[in-house]
Symmetry: D4
Subunit: 151 residues, 8 copies
Amino acid sequence: MHWTVYLSGEIHTDWREVIQTGSEGKALPVRFTGPVTDHAASDDCGVAILGAEAQKFWHDRKGAGINAIRTRTLIERADLVVVRFGTQYKQWNAAFDAGYAAALGKSLIILHPPEHQHALKEIDEAARAVAETPEQVVEILDYVINGVLPG
Amino acid sequence: MHWTVYLSGEIHTDWREVIQTGSEGKALPVRFTGPVTDHAASDDCGVAILGAEAQKFWHDRKGAGINAIRTRTLIERADLVVVRFGTQYKQWNAAFDAGYAAALGKSLIILHPPEHQHALKEIDEAARAVAETPEQVVEILDYVINGVLPG
Amino acid sequence: MHWTVYLSGEIHTDWREVIQTGSEGKALPVRFTGPVTDHAASDDCGVAILGAEAQKFWHDRKGAGINAIRTRTLIERADLVVVRFGTQYKQWNAAFDAGYAAALGKSLIILHPPEHQHALKEIDEAARAVAETPEQVVEILDYVINGVLPG
Amino acid sequence: MHWTVYLSGEIHTDWREVIQTGSEGKALPVRFTGPVTDHAASDDCGVAILGAEAQKFWHDRKGAGINAIRTRTLIERADLVVVRFGTQYKQWNAAFDAGYAAALGKSLIILHPPEHQHALKEIDEAARAVAETPEQVVEILDYVINGVLPG
Amino acid sequence: MHWTVYLSGEIHTDWREVIQTGSEGKALPVRFTGPVTDHAASDDCGVAILGAEAQKFWHDRKGAGINAIRTRTLIERADLVVVRFGTQYKQWNAAFDAGYAAALGKSLIILHPPEHQHALKEIDEAARAVAETPEQVVEILDYVINGVLPG
Amino acid sequence: MHWTVYLSGEIHTDWREVIQTGSEGKALPVRFTGPVTDHAASDDCGVAILGAEAQKFWHDRKGAGINAIRTRTLIERADLVVVRFGTQYKQWNAAFDAGYAAALGKSLIILHPPEHQHALKEIDEAARAVAETPEQVVEILDYVINGVLPG
Amino acid sequence: MHWTVYLSGEIHTDWREVIQTGSEGKALPVRFTGPVTDHAASDDCGVAILGAEAQKFWHDRKGAGINAIRTRTLIERADLVVVRFGTQYKQWNAAFDAGYAAALGKSLIILHPPEHQHALKEIDEAARAVAETPEQVVEILDYVINGVLPG
Amino acid sequence: MHWTVYLSGEIHTDWREVIQTGSEGKALPVRFTGPVTDHAASDDCGVAILGAEAQKFWHDRKGAGINAIRTRTLIERADLVVVRFGTQYKQWNAAFDAGYAAALGKSLIILHPPEHQHALKEIDEAARAVAETPEQVVEILDYVINGVLPG
């Protein structure tokens, strides 16, 4: 049985590739989805397609609307949502995605470094697992799908 | 991952073909659906199949019921609904479809000429994107699915 | 795009075969489902599998439970539900199925002879189409799926 | 805590009054609702308000639509739906209401004479209780609300 | 039992007052809700509260967002939605409201002059009643709530 | 049409294999899913992947969260849920799964030895069928899918 | 703002009274609901009202159906569900209620002695709080409603 | 008609008081709800009631669970959710609440200083209004409820 896993959040490290490569290495029947991770494209997609805006606020709005077509649709189709919080930036959209997925009843895995534990406590509480490394996410997938534990 | 896109609204120009041809040109994994666009068939399907009516009101009702089997089912199955308002006719069924899709939580793209901006403001507000040309819809699809921007 | 059509109700005439054969003749992409139509098996499945009951009421209850596994599941998966009322028997389970499907928001086609019009008025009102012959149902399917009218 | 109980079905005996009087006698905190039980008004409400129809089919349709405003709204608001099948008439609307309520997840009590047991087996299976007399319905309400058994 | 009725659509005639006054005259237990009907306020609320916009499109967007807080909330709370189409303007927001309410499963009454019958056929089909005068709406309410027919 | 059947509950006898083998013998189009049935892996998956815990309570919590990713997802995807109660252990998670599936509107089959009838009466009442042997479950599947009764 | 709290599970100690008395002592705006806690009445309500059954299985079924009218309705209306596991009996209906409430998205508090921690780990994982004493439940209510911590 | 408005987010300025006082000054029929805003109590409620934890992670988890009973319940009951982002801290729980409310279909107002516009663009896009001051929120409420614009 195939699983669809949405990878939300931080876009400046290679955590998605680590999970995808690790899953392929185990031949897990998982289809990964996620947001557009090209930061510039993501910021400018609205005006690039629909025309320039004089105000940065509406420039952002147009782009956010188009990105939401992708992110909402793919989150709604996912069996499982992994949300990664990195060490930089506000990352409010990651937290928004976590709330959105939680309200839809999706299983959540939150992935973050230990220093975020206190600030993320409400989001961790909504999750079925809290991991620190993308390798742990692969191990969770292998266990959840195949019943296989590492080692 | 395949996307299903319902194309609602205006039936007197070739906007659906422009979107479909454009998407095929980019090999987008999209399945397009929509209403029956043969105006005469759409108007008369009820009485053609289920028998004539003396009253035009019931003639219309019978047809509208059968068309609704198609439109409601396909809107409910769609990931994304594009609603086109042209320059002629009342087009209340297009606006109805937009409201129907919005209440189901579907992503909406509204496509209309600039002169309709004020009259369509409530519907535009419910949309994730407001476009003026069918080519823009193709560009949105390409970005949303592949993360690729035009140009 | 495939359609799944549940054929509920009367089991003593060949109306299901007429619809299925007619649809195959037009190569419609429809998968038909329905209840078990072997009357004796349907009545006795509960006790045949789970053991005899001294009371007819519980004999019936056991069978109805097992039949409900099939009927509820297939109605929930259907895009369209056709309910046929024949000229004999109480047929309360047909009316129950119609109500069940209506509450789930399924499109309904009701199929019955003209003499039932008054008695079925509430159910006809909940339907998108009211037909008198199974051939009309095939024509509706052909129109709804392909936009093709008869003749 | 107040309970709202919808009384669906047969309109030619005084079963609703028996339940209401019995509940008042026990001071049960129940608000009873139900369809319009004036048969003639129920049949003619559509044309009386919205204008005559030449065809009986559409005469009935208009009335059924208006009655559905009441019945659907009140069933949706009910905590519990009681459906009575009498000894006469087709009573397909009663069975439809039972199916409608079942799909909404409402608790159902079915009330019918023993001779209907086989014909109503699918509907009885969807119910939490099957009663033969309106007095039993009052006893169920008293137990469900107050934990009090008869005698 | 109280009913909540949302009155959507046309804002340039006194149809809401006719319905409200008529209902009060019959002491119907109905609470009426609706959009802000002050056209200028409705158009400008966004910029009046949140600051001016250079572009009319965003001026409209800001206002439409605030109006949607009211209209969506009140439609979701309504038992019944009445949508009035007048003789002027595009009235696409009325049709949007009808679609929105239909997808939520609300009972709909559509109110319009006979000349709109063909253009509104899809929306009329989604309704439980189609009226021509506000007085008919009052009569429907009186019947639906009290079982009383006019005359 | 394929069926997905979740097999919940007791993990110390071979009842799942009996059902799967029996279904394969009849070539039933069923995909079976279930929890991880390796007791030790199930107990320790949390700490094995996410790190040791000093407290047994949190050791258990971590594992239960990961197991819930699998069990909740697969129950939500199932057409039918079979819950087996054996003769040993508390088996509260089996009862929890039954309640979870019931609230989602899934068809339930409860499988247990006769001595549990009184203790399981609330759960049996929520089920469409109560069986005593896994062979009976295979017979139910054969009937529900193919309309075929044993013998 | 009033809270409705359903108290499910063990019926042989006075834990419900402790919670209710404690809440009254703090004047908490809470309405408590729960099952019928008279064990004999709960077991026999079906046959006492609807007539004797020769088979204990159906005797139990009739009672379980009537009790479910109460328990399902009240759980669905609750803001918060507390489930108590005592030291005796199977208590499968308590675990069923927990699963049922969890699938409805209700907040859960599980109340049990420490020796049940391992056996209840899946149910504890689904809960927002795991308490050992009814006094702790009162303290949770006081904090959740008033923001007041003990001491 | 009463409105229930949940005030989520920043707890270190008096923005909630400004909104509440302003609404009282206009006699708006609004009931405001929100999280526990005593930071220390909110952090420690879990261990204060349910016992100390050696690990800060589980200390936080216990508290987050109890706070979630309040926040989830009150957000689900709200007609409108206002989320305030201040100038300090991560405020991921505010963003989580916004996502949670958006997925439930609640109307959202986001309140933040202009410097957060880019970082909050996805969340602003999900909102019906973006305000900079609590006074604007009061004006929105006055308009939405009474149709009254400022000045």
